[in-house]
Structure formats: C-alpha cells, structure tokens
Amino acid sequence: MGRQTPLYKLHQELGARMVDFAGWEMPVQYGSQIGEHHAVRRAAGVFDVSHMGIVDLAGVRVRAFLQQLLANDVAKLKAPGQALYSCMLNEQGGVLDDLIVYRLDDSWYRVVVNAGTRAKDLAWMRTQATAFDVELSERADLAMLAIQGPQARAKAAELLAPPDAQAALALASFLGRQLGSWFVARTGYTGEDGFEIMLPAAEAVSTWRRLNSLGVASCGLGARDTLRLEAGLNLYGSDMDESTHPFESGLGWTVAMEPRERSFIGRAALEAIVKRGSPRKLVGLVLEDRGVLRGHQRVIVPAGGEGEITSGTFSPTLERSIAFARVPSATSERVQVDIRGKLLGARVVKPPFVRAGKPLVSLATEAKDLP
C-alpha cells in the first residue's frame, strides 16, 4: 500500500484509476486521458500534486545556503514571492533533482521537490545546511493543487474573497503570495497559465469539489505527462538524473555560471564540461510516420552515432507522436527511431511543441503522411 494524499478518497469517489507513482497512490486518469488533456489546453483542469515535497528553509544565512546548493542563482529573486526553477547538482554535475524555489522573505525560502526524490533531497539538503545554520522543515501539513488552463486563474479566483481574488489575479508569472491560509503562485507544469496552490490539507477536498462545480475538470498524472511533454518541460528520472548533467538535458538555461565568483555544488564539473563541450544534447522529436515514440527507443542519427528517447508519447494537441531524445551534439534536422525493429522517420525540433494552446512546431505534412 503506497502513501496517500489528503485527496485519496475523493479520487476514488470520482472513479479515478489509481497507480503507484514514486511510492504514492495517485490518480492517472478519471475518464479519458485525452479529454483531460484537452480540458487543460482549452478551459481548466485541476491536478493533485500533494505528493511533491514542500520544504521550508529558515535562517539568516538561507540565501547563502541556496546559492551554494543550487545551480541557478537565488540572487535573481529580488522580491518576496518570486519563484525560480533550478537544478540541484552533485559534485560531478549530475542532476540530483529539479525544483522550484520561492523567496518568502529574507530569512525564509520554500522549495518544492519531486515526490520520487524527496527523501534523498531532504537528506542531501540537511547535510549541506549544517554549515549555514539553516533549519529545514517538511510541510506535510500542506496539500498542493495545480489549477491549469486558459480559464484556470479566473476559476480559482472565484474561491477567494474579493480582495484576495484581486491580489491573486494581479500576480505576475512565477510570482506567489500568501493569501489567508493559501499560498497562491502563478506557476505550473503544463505550458498553460494557471496557479499552483499550497493549502492546509484539511481544505483540499472541499476546494477540489468547488473547482469541479465551477467546471474545472479533475485531471490525472496521465494528462499531466502529455501536457508537460508538449510544453517542453523535463521529467526528473526520465529526461535527466544523477548520471546526466544540465547541458545534455536541455537545462543549460537554468544554470547561472555568472557571477563567476559564486561557488555552487557541481560548478567545477560544469566548467570542465563547458570547456570541452558536451558530446550530447537533448532535442525534441516529432514522428513523421504513424506510431508512438516511447522512452528508451533507439535513435539513429544520419551523421553517425546513436541516441535514445528519454520520454515520448502521443501528443493530443498535435495528433502525432512527440518525444525528447538525448543524441550526439551534431544531430540536426532528421533522425530515425527504432520502434519494434522498424525504422521510422522523425524530425528534430526545439521544444516546446505547444504553448498556451498553440502548436509551435510546423505540422506541414510531408510525403510520408497518412494515406
């Protein structure tokens, strides 16, 4: 029996198919996974992400600690409530986890980490924190809901008293704010606008029901995965892990090599990689033939060499298969993918594939299109 979020019984009541995800019993879908995907692209959907780890960090030297701990630089967070996406690396430059860090005030930050890595992350952070006299506390008292889609913010704001609703709607992207018992942030993992709300666990069920009654669709991890892949967002454990570094994971943009005097864990390893160049990179693929790209399928590069799909799926928005693949750095334009022994053609693209409901890759049908 896996761990359960405060919404477990409600998921069952709503007819969700439950699966094990990183030791948690989570809803993969309530009805049609494609239907849930479209609900988020076209209107609004709500996801239970309470399995993710919310960790508060407090202490007068917390900023210096996070500057040492994370590959991105929390000095970019100028105002309370600002959020930053970052990798947490080991000394070899391998990715221990990817996370969001919020600056709540000068001596109080909050990080949200992946469910599958939370125990490992917490142990790592505690080890690193001792030198900085920073106190870590896991916020198991909070549930977290992601409300995503073009109508998500307006629907979620209906649950708040008028002054709080105005404050929530005024939030800029990647900004959060404590509003009563809720921490509301304009962040997400779907490529759509929306909020992620951290709220007392006891309020989770009633909030979900009210969202449903406003027409916000219950959405499971299945739709979350197709949405994030379309949006060009990595999944930890599939697209990167401890054996891969950010520059071969499409995450170079999240590494702050400037200012050069900032020391952070993994920096020396990354500098060596920058100097000699990364032999591999992460790209997007769009399958030109019929079929479905899946993780671990072999990618054959015409210029020579091979790569591997890190995650792949059917894109409900594009109605064809898309993937991330780790390939030799010289890869361009086209590759072939080995699907059950057949070599199928795929086009190399720069993710994201879809943002704010709109396809970003050309779907120009070529000679190999459907008959």
Partner: protein, 132 residues
C-alpha cells in the same frame, strides 16, 4: 463492470474470438483490455496472408500511456486486418466487440479444437482474480 458478450470466447490475455459463417474467426481485445489501456492512439494489425502460431504477437495496440501486444489465440492464416483502425484507433475503445475488431484468421486444421479458450463465465473469473 466488465462486459463479456455470451456469444464470444476469450483468452487469459484479454483477446476475444467470434466464429464467422465462412469458417474464419474474428479477433479483438476485450472491453476490459481497452478500458485498462485507455484512449488508443495507434493500432497495427497484421497483413492478410501472414501465417501465425498460437501465442504469437501479431498486432499492437497503443494508448497514450502504453503499448500492448495482441497474441494470436490459435494458429492459422490472417485473412484480414481491420484497416479502419489505421486512422480511427479510437474505434477499439468505442466498440471493442464490433467495429473495433482487429483481425480475421482462418484456423489451421485442428487449431480451433486445440486452442485453450475461455467461456464468458470463465473469463469473468480471470478478471475477478486480477482485481483481487
């Protein structure tokens, strides 16, 4: 919650078989199988003329989240694959026992008699055992 029509026979791996008047059998996946897979987005069916052995993987059904092989329940020669599924794989979700059939097969001599097929009641028992 399952739905296993009385006029069909079944396999433990969730295929169904219908005997047709011309001596061939029509094969598909059960309602339980399509429901477990979820929205199908790709189906690959065998070409007519292919000879298959009992238990041989001869079709593939893929949903958004997973790919699954479909096995020939008995030996024989494929007489037709359901071409409609190339462009409308969702037909299998909507009508698993009807328009969503996957293939038709002419059994090899004695193959139908030798095949280990389940009655609807026995298939329901398989499902009940999987649930528990």
């Amino acid at each position: 919650m399952s739905n296993a029509p009385a006029d069909l026979r079944y396999t433990k791996s969730h295929e169904w078989l219908r005997s047709l008047a011309d001596g061939t059998v029509e094969i598909g996946i059960t309602d339980h199988a399509q429901h477990t897979l979820g929205d199908l987005v790709f189906v690959e069916v065998p070409q007519a003329g292919r000879k298959v052995q009992a238990g041989e993987a001869c079709a593939v059904v893929e949903s958004v989240k997973a790919a699954a092989d479909v096995y020939a329940p008995l030996a024989g020669e494929i007489t037709a694959g359901n071409e409609r599924l190339a462009t409308q794989p969702e037909t299998v979700n909507a009508q698993p026992y009807g328009a969503g059939w996957l293939m038709r097969l002419r059994p090899a001599p004695g193959a139908l008699e030798a095949a280990q097929l389940l009655s609807p009641a026995d298939y329901e028992k398989v499902l009940a055992a999987e649930e528990s």
